[in-house]
């Protein structure tokens, strides 16, 4: 085996994952909070007001990173669901199911902050615009995955059924992303581009990117903490889990 597959096998083993994830999570949370402090200082204090939207545009520093996360997490969940369905890897099942509530939270933040931004700028809290509607469908997909996962008694069967739903729902991800190009929407097109210059000033761009990184760190922190719970519960009968319960929960 080459180093990569070896690493994969090792990190994929439940006790090793449980230990490493537990050790990484506090650092990821710390990095996320630090990034948020820096990003929000840059966005709320250093960046100048927008010439059209004045200070209302400052909602962008949470709205856009959370919207990116809503898509990133869905893709992450679907990729893990795919691996879980094809190769039956336990860790992938757990990662897919643990990412759903975090993705739902970021999608809810995106919709709520979008609404709070739409009211002063568009004059309405909500409109059935392609971008808004497809993002709402994304929230329902997350909730459907969470619901299905909780509806089935057997944990592994539940993860596979919900993973299948997650995989089917992945068609919605490009629809959300390209909706502003495919349809004539009230929602504006993208201003930040990976290729070519972004249509946003550097003083506003860097806090946005710092926030994007911070929300990503937050996701992995929360994912690891959640996955550890699921793993401990799933492997309750195993020796390592018993040792962990005794270590963490005191003497029985």
């Amino acid at each position: 085996m080459n180093t990569l597959t070896l690493w994969f096998h090792k990190f994929g083993s439940p006790p090793v994952f449980h230990r490493i994830a537990g050790r990484l999570a506090p650092w990821l949370y710390a990095g996320a909070l630090l990034g948020m402090l820096i990003g929000l200082y840059g966005g709320l204090v250093l960046a100048p007001p927008d010439y059209q939207q004045s200070d209302a545009y400052r909602i962008i520093f949470i709205h856009v990173p959370c919207a990116w996360m809503s898509l990133f997490i869905y893709f992450f969940m679907a990729a893990n669901a795919f691996v879980a369905l094809v190769w039956r890897i336990k860790i992938s099942e757990i990662l897919a199911m643990a990412s759903a509530p975090i993705g739902a939270a970021f999608t809810a933040i995106t919709l709520a902050t979008g609404s709070l931004w739409g009211k002063p700028m568009w004059g309405t809290w909500w409109t059935w615009d392609a971008r808004l509607t497809s993002e709402l469908v994304l929230l329902f997909l997350y909730l459907g995955v969470i619901g299905l996962n909780h509806a089935i008694e057997d944990r592994r069967q539940a993860a596979r059924a919900a993973g299948f739903l997650a995989l089917v729902g992945v068609v919605n991800v490009p629809i959300v992303h390209f909706s502003v190009n495919w349809w004539n929407t009230l929602h504006q097109g993208s201003t930040v581009r990976l290729i070519g210059p972004s249509a946003i000033d550097a003083s506003m761009l860097w806090p946005l990117l710092v926030m994007a990184l911070a929300t990503k760190l937050w996701f992995f922190a929360s994912l690891f903490v959640r996955a550890r719970n699921d793993l401990l519960e799933l492997e309750a009968g195993k020796e390592w889990a018993r040792a962990e319960v005794l270590r963490e929960g005191g003497t029985p």
Partner: protein, 60 residues
């Protein structure tokens, strides 16, 4: 300071957005910790029952 809080008249919308963000992240932080406690308590109970059973019939 008050002009910072006012956000050019958009204070309510801007600060409500930031409040939604931090409240949901706080819930996301707390929820798995509460679940950890429940899972550990349940597994501890299961271990205890198992030990008791082993003591009653050590040969089994």
């Amino acid at each position: 300071m008050s002009s910072f809080l006012d956000m050019g008249g958009y204070g309510f919308y801007v600060w409500a957005s930031y409040a939604v963000f931090f409240i949901l992240l706080a819930i996301d932080f707390i929820a798995p910790r509460l679940r950890r406690r429940r899972v550990l308590a349940e597994l501890r109970g299961r271990l205890r029952r198992q030990q008791r059973k082993n003591q009653e019939s050590p040969t089994a």
